[in-house]
Amino acid sequence: MSGKRKWKWNWPWHWWQYGILSVIVLIGIGFTIGRQPLKGLAYALDKPELCILCHVMRPHYESWYHSAHRNMVCNECHTPHNFVGKYFTKARAGIVDTWVYFIGPMPAQFRAKPHTVEILQDNCIRCHTEVISRIGDTRHNGGTYCFSCHRDVPHGIQTGIGPDPRELRQ
């Protein structure tokens, strides 16, 4: 079948061909993000105020700011607490979110991704070991996550883009 042949990739390339391609890709990404370079950088640091460089994080920031967890920064919950895991997660989230933010497609609502959910659970347990000492990790063997019951910790059910009816009341 000649059609198949036509599309066959012509491996292998020379190393410098890879090199040129990578540079072009990196320049491309850098150019897109570079329009507002601080935003990408936010992921390297832990300050919640940096997260709201992207205004789309505003509802999450506001709800957190008014919660009992105000003294725990975002990354206390949203990143694993070991060096490699933490920076791997940050890098991954930084690339994905920045891409989505500048290039799209922007989801109508943001949701914690499945791996984020596991990280969150581990962090709840990390801080609240004492209180759950007798019930154990509720997630085990197909159980529920802490935030299935503690639905308002720390963002409230309202993290979407709509107005909070409770705030509209007068």
């Binding site: 497609p105 109508a108 609502q109 059910i157 107005p163 509209l168």
Partner: protein, 422 residues
């Protein structure tokens, strides 16, 4: 590809001045181009399981409606509604017999403000054909917004008056209430006062179907006489606002606009979508704001309710149609027991009212699942009793009245629904 890049935000043009009676949404659109764009989406039609904006015939889907509305316009023509931009086209299209009064124009055109200013209350009795000639634009910006400040305003007198009669001042409504009240100008049960044809909302005793029925009973109001059963009937029309009262959503401060005008991202900012349609067409925007579950889950919950309601609605139609058949054949007998027949008709009137309340409401029960199913249950019991009364009238035999439930513990009343703080 263009689909991937965020929509470009169009800056509201500050130079545009909007006239006091400006009915043309395109003119407003110069000032608010993004809002106008979403408004134009109302032109897109599509069907959902039980709603949507495809103009299909309800009479084809539910043939028993022909029996139920016999002798009334709705037995000939009864179609599903569609978007706001079609309101004028649709009223122009229907059978002239249904366009009984100038009053109809109230909820169909953005020229209403102008017309009301020109004719005052006398527009109610004008020939509708005449008013339709003057109406140039379907429902549009001026129906809900102040042309100067863009604030939400109530433009229809019937709503202001209904509130005033209950001693409430509608100008004191909160922003959140206004996000439902602008809809309550039209998406409500109404009647025309006999003689004056004045548009009136029958809420003086409350919003529940039972309260409105009682209001009509005391008024002795009748929409038409049923052709076969000769029962003096009531027709319910779109009690969307009423059914929604005291639902889980309403009690949590969720407004019509939250679900039917969800915020959408335009570029990097968000605006209220002015595409007012079935939330099934944009579940993630409409529900996702407050609900973290999947779209599939949310759709399935809507259908869980709607299937139950539709199931009982259709079964209710069967019993009410059965009552009509029984009454009309009994009434043809010369030996019929007239007193029993009158009772049968009175029960028929009530049963069909409860049924029609849910049939005419537009969410197939979703706006308040528990209340919807309660009303359908009322309807089926009353229709069954009506059939029994007709059979008694016809046969001469009779059953004892239903036994009393005894010293009722005072717990059955649905009157007690309170509104405690949240």
């Amino acid at each position: 590809s263009p689909g991937c890049s965020p929509k470009q935000r169009q800056e509201p043009s500050q130079g545009v001045e909007i006239g006091e009676f400006e009915a043309d949404p395109a003119v407003w659109g110069k000032k608010y181009p993004d809002h106008y764009d979403t408004y134009l989406q109302n032109n897109m039609t599509a069907r959902t399981e039980y709603g949507g904006s495809d103009k299909y015939s309800k009479l084809e889907r539910e043939p028993l409606l022909k029996t139920l509305f016999s002798g009334y316009g709705f037995s000939k023509e009864y179609t599903e509604d569609r978007g706001h931009t079609y309101s004028l086209e649709d009223i122009r299209m229907i059978d002239p017999a249904r366009k009984s009064a100038g009053t109809c124009i109230t909820c169909k055109t953005a020229n209403f403000k102008e017309l009301y200013n020109k004719y005052g209350e006398s527009y109610y009795t004008q020939p509708i054909t005449h008013l339709l000639d003057e109406a140039k634009h379907p429902i549009a910006c001026i129906d809900c917004h102040d042309p100067k400040t863009n604030a939400l305003v109530i433009t229809r007198p019937a709503l202001k008056e209904a509130f005033a009669r209950q001693g409430k001042d509608i100008t004191k409504a909160t922003r959140n209430e206004m996000r439902s009240l602008v809809c309550a100008q039209c998406h409500v049960e109404y009647y025309f006062q006999t003689g004056t044809k004045k548009l009136t909302f029958p809420w003086d005793k409350g919003f529940r179907a039972d309260d409105i029925l009682q209001y009509y009973q005391e008024l002795g109001f009748t929409d038409w006489e049923h052709a076969d059963a000769k029962t003096p009937m009531l027709k319910a029309q779109h009690p969307d606002y009423e059914l929604n009262q005291n639902s889980t959503h309403q009690r949590n401060g969720v407004s019509c606009s939250d679900c039917h005008m969800p915020y959408v991202r335009i570029g990097t900012s968000k605006i209220s979508s002015h595409w007012m349609t079935s939330p099934l067409r944009y579940i993630s925007e409409a529900c996702g704001t407050c609900h973290r579950q999947s779209e599939d889950y949310l759709k399935e919950r809507i259908l869980y309710t709607q299937r139950r309601v539709y199931d009982q609605l259709i079964k209710g139609e069967q019993v009410v149609a059965g009552a009509i058949e029984a009454i009309s054949s009994a009434s043809k007998l010369p030996t019929v027991n007239a007193a029993k027949l009158t009772e049968a008709r009175s029960l028929h009137r009530q049963a069909q009212w409860y049924l029609d309340f849910i049939s005419a409401e537009n969410s197939m029960g979703f706006h308040n699942p528990q209340e919807a199913l309660r009303l359908l249950s009322e309807s089926q019991r009353l229709a069954g009793e009506s059939r029994i009364r007709a059979l008694e009238a016809l046969s001469g035999a009779s059953l004892p009245p239903l036994p009393s439930p005894g010293p009722a513990p005072g717990l059955t009343s649905t009157q007690e629904d309170k509104s405690p703080k949240q």
